[in-house]
């Protein structure tokens, strides 16, 4: 039965041609029911889905048309009609018990085969460590590079090794037809292979599909598939990107990029999020001003910021306090926010913290989305997160 699958034939065909000629499996386009299919398993799963769909159409129209026909044919004529239909028919009833049994057994075996293919990652998989935290994904590559969007090499199996820092999450890349819950205290794995590089601005959505709280619907990343050479280059760049930026340019080159990770909880325009806004709100100034003056909202059950910041106090400088808030967020909580922020210890370097603090100091140079307003027009057009694909 599985041999009927058209894409299997296609794969066999392309194997014969030799890998030098083939760019791998082509993506399947978006259809009425299904989104674009961009992984090697997508076409098989879509085939099963469509196969079940056709069976469903058949039975649905069968049931409904029989029902409507009977309702019309045997409509009541006159009030006093007692109808003499047969009350049972053993062979008929056995028939419609056995027929669905056979159909579901067939469907089960098809789904079973597909599942086994999905579960077993090939031995030569490229491994990416994934950390799920409310409400963002973080991807770490073998060479130490870290990114908030997922970059994968084309034409190579990729294995994600995932863990959660807090609650249940679930990583779902719909165009790849893969999904796996991430349970705290366990490692979860997932593999896929995408053969076609994403072109231009295109990408595949990475969603969180297990409810994780306020920012659940914002916990999504983009997945870019790069040709192998480009991917290697990107990976190397990504590992060193912060080092190459001169200190005085850090705040506008690295700041907005790092802020993307914070943006699911913190805003820049004073709007309340899961965490306090970095922008102006309730007359106490933006986050930098608040920390410098120390007159802002109560922290730690009633004390003001000035109780913590200043000569001889817990933090000599506002920078010290902000740094502690990133590495040990639970240490000093600001009223009325609870202990909701994960620690970023180990995920961000000192230089990264410098960049973020610089970003906070110069908030007036950015718009509400974190775009640097002083950028020359040409430079603003290039997305720093994604290298130009050749």
């Amino acid at each position: 039965m599985l041999n009927l699958i058209p894409n299997f034939l296609m794969q066999a065909e392309s194997d014969k041609l030799g890998s030098a000629f083939t760019p791998g499996l082509p993506n399947t386009p978006k259809t009425f029911w299904l989104p674009e299919g961009a992984s090697t398993i997508a076409s098989e799963i879509d085939w099963i889905f469509n196969f079940i769909n056709y069976i469903n159409y058949f039975f649905f129209f069968l049931v409904v048309s029989i029902m409507l026909y009977f309702v019309w044919k045997y409509r009541q004529k006159g009030r006093d009609v007692y109808a003499r239909g047969p009350s049972h028919h053993l062979m008929l009833e056995l028939g419609w018990t056995i027929l669905p049994t056979i159909i579901v057994v067939v469907i089960f075996f098809m789904g079973f085969r597909g599942f086994i293919d999905m579960r077993v990652p090939p031995a030569n998989s490229y491994q990416i460590d994934v950390t799920a935290q409310r409400f963002a994904w973080s991807f770490k590559y073998p060479n130490g590079a870290v990114s908030n969007d997922l970059f994968v090499p084309a034409g190579q199996p990729v294995k994600l090794i995932m863990r959660s820092e807090d609650v249940l999450h679930s990583l779902f890349i719909r165009d790849f037809r893969v999904k796996q819950d991430v349970v705290p205290g366990r490692f979860a794995t997932l593999w896929f292979q995408a053969d076609q590089p994403t072109e231009g601005d295109k990408f595949h959505w990475v969603f969180c599909t297990e409810f994780c709280g306020t920012g659940h619907s914002l916990m999504n990343s983009k997945c870019f598939v790069l040709p192998e050479a480009d991917f290697k280059e990107w990976e190397t760049e990504q590992a060193r990107w912060l080092d190459k930026i001169p200190a005085e340019e850090l705040y506008f080159k690295a700041g907005p990029k790092l802020f993307a990770r914070c943006a699911s909880c913190h805003t820049l325009d004073g709007k309340l999020g899961t965490g306090p806004s970095w922008g102006n709100y309730d007359g106490t100034g933006n986050v930098w001003e608040r920390n410098q003056v120390g007159t802002s909202r109560k922290v730690d059950g009633g004390k003001a910021l000035s109780d913590f910041i200043g000569p001889g106090k817990q933090y000599e400088t506002p920078e010290g306090y902000l740094r502690a808030s990133i590495l040990n967020p639970g240490e000093h909580l600001s009223d009325p926010y609870g202990n909701a922020m994960p620690t970023f210890r180990g995920q961000i370097t000192d230089k990264g913290i410098d960049a973020l603090i610089g970003f906070m100091k110069h908030l007036d140079e950015f718009d509400a989305k974190g775009v640097w307003l002083k950028a020359p027009p040409a430079a603003a057009a290039t997305d720093p997160a994604k290298p130009a694909v050749k």
Partner: protein, 564 residues
């Protein structure tokens, strides 16, 4: 002799259960199953209104892909959680057994009451207490876990009203358990002479199968939420991964109850539909035994399939495969029922009264709900569809399109019996049509939304999904209008409805053979029982403006095996 009861049918009994005693206290402390049923009905429909408003709020928010000023993400999360929890625990689970079942079941059995009338009243007050806990939870800050209460979110992060609502669920669970226990004993011990298991109306078979699930599965939910409360209070427990506990264990426990709970919801609905289809087709139900045994089969299988909610949870592949295989077994009895209902229409004399329209809607909607379960049972396609709107659409087709539509159909079917009045048939059909059309627009669009990859429980979404959300929300307004119309004409009928005859549809089971509304003690003497699906002795009576059953002929026909 036209009735089993000596009372003549045309002159109403001087005294019925509504007028038997008067005053608020006579309701508050009543032991009469009919009054308890009516109180449940009022309570359940009020909760349905609240849950429905929540649903419309959620759908209205989803017209917009981004943030809206009038509903924050937290408020949205609380709204959909409240919608789910109310609809599941306060509405659908008690709707058919506790409200309609309480009223109809003892009358169908020709009994005076359920086996334990005090326990019955106690169950009702447990329900009230559970509902109060839900309100308490709202006052304590609401809860935003989704109705599934997954750990560790529910133990570490969720809003302040989580413990009160868990206490509420625990209490509601015991309300449900005691109702089920009561009904099992009632059906075993109070069947009248002559009513063998295979002469029992299929509604009672369904209620019986449901009661078994209630009794066996609900305690597991009870202890699970109790352990959750302890865990949340002490910040440690067997579901806590940081201390060696297992969050997936919670999912196993939760679904061990909550999957059978789906059948607690839909099985009684199937029972109602079996009765509605037979009565309004005026012909013997087709394949009584297959329908009856399929109810039991569904009840048994329902305990073995919970793991299909967890294909992506990281449980072992072997478990996934086993659960997938067993899940398909539920499809078979469900399919058998649909085919048997179709065959019941064959050579019938079908009257398209409002209850029958709901009955036919049920077949349509349940077919879609059942068939779309197949791609969710196949592991490889479920991995794509899990936790997307496809699942949302699927379970709404089953839980609302089937269970709730059947409940409303049953309400229309037995409304004349319960309150002794007829509602407007014209507006009844309009209401049913609006609900049916609105329902399909609302939820069919969600199948596409889901298979295109839109995750559930999302406050904001990508603009590409907006068109589907617009269609869905539009449909929900139509459905809402249908329910408002239904509420208006039903309430109107209470005050200005035409007086109902004892037997407006031509049913042959016992409840149609006592007056409408029934007298306080249902039957003066234990009635004699024929075949409740044998309509050969049912005749239209112009003077009554209703049907009458010729008891002697009815029983003679059943004994001779004719009338089939």
């Amino acid at each position: 002799m036209t009735t089993l009861d000596a009372r003549p049918i045309s002159t109403p009994a001087p005294d019925n259960y509504l007028t038997h005693t008067r005053g608020l206290m006579s309701w508050v402390f009543t032991l009469d199953h009919k009054r308890i049923g009516v109180m449940y009905l009022f309570a359940v429909l009020s909760s349905f209104f609240v849950g429905g408003v929540m649903a419309l709020l959620v759908r209205t928010k989803l017209l917009f892909p981004g943030e809206v000023s009038w509903m924050t993400a937290d408020q949205y999360n609380k709204a959909f959680t409240l919608h789910g929890a109310i609809m599941v625990f306060l509405v659908i689970i008690p709707s058919v057994p506790a409200a309609l079942g309480n009223f109809i079941m003892p009358i169908m059995l020709g009994a005076k009451d359920v086996a334990f009338p005090r326990l019955n009243l106690f169950s009702f007050y447990l329900w009230v207490l559970g509902a109060i806990c839900a309100v308490w939870s709202l006052l304590a800050g609401g809860f935003d876990t989704g109705w599934t209460f997954y750990t560790p979110y529910s133990t570490q992060f969720s809003a302040g009203g989580t413990i009160p609502v868990l206490v509420g669920v625990f209490i509601l669970g015991f309300s449900s358990i005691f109702t089920g226990l009561n009904f099992i004993v009632t059906i075993h011990k109070l069947r009248p002479p002559g009513m063998t298991w295979f002469r029992m109306p299929l509604f009672l078979w369904a209620i019986y199968a449901t009661a078994i699930i209630q009794v066996l599965a609900t305690p597991v939910l009870g202890i699970t939420v109790a352990l959750l409360v302890i865990e949340r209070s002490f910040n440690i427990g067997i579901f806590d991964p940081s201390m060696g506990g297992d969050p997936v264990l919670f999912q196993h426990f939760f679904w061990f109850y909550s999957h059978p709970a789906v059948y607690i919801m839909v099985l009684p609905g199937m029972g109602i539909i079996s009765d509605i289809i037979a009565v309004h087709s005026h012909r013997h139900i087709f394949g009584f035994r297959f329908i009856a045994f399929s109810s039991i089969a569904i009840a048994v299988f329902s305990f073995l399939v919970w793991g299909h909610h967890m294909f992506t949870s990281g449980q072992s592949p072997l478990m996934n495969v086993l659960f997938s295989a067993i899940t398909f077994s539920v499809a078979i009895p469900s399919a058998v029922k649909v085919f048997n209902w179709l065959a019941t229409l064959y050579k019938g004399s079908i009257s398209l009264n409002t209850p029958m329209l709901y009955g036919l809607s049920f077949i349509f909607l349940f077919t879609i709900g059942g068939l779309t379960g197949i791609p969710l049972a196949v592991i490889s396609t479920d991995i794509h569809l899990h936790d997307t709107y496809f699942v949302v659409a699927h379970f709404h087709y089953v839980m609302m399109g089937s269970a709730l539509i059947a409940m409303i159909g049953g309400l229309h079917h037995w409304w004349p019996k319960m309150f002794g009045v007829m509602y407007s048939e014209f507006w009844g059909r309009i209401g049913c049509a609006l609900v049916f059309v609105g329902f399909n627009i609302t939820f069919f669009s969600q199948f596409m939304l889901g298979s295109q990859g839109m995750p559930r429980r999302y406050y904001q979404y990508q603009p590409e999904f907006q068109i589907y959300h617009h269609i869905s929300t539009g449909g929900s307004y139509i459905m809402g209008l249908g329910f408002v119309i239904t509420a208006i004409y039903l309430i109107h009928s209470l005050f200005a409805g035409k007086k109902a005859p004892a037997n407006p549809w031509g049913g042959a089971s016992l409840e149609w053979q006592c007056s409408s509304p029934p007298p306080h003690d249902n039957f003066a003497t234990t009635p004699r029982v024929g075949d409740c699906y044998d309509f050969s002795a049912v005749r239209w009576d112009e003077k009554e403006q209703g049907y009458v059953v010729d008891t002697e002929a009815h029983i003679a026909s059943a004994n001779s095996g004719k009338g089939h």
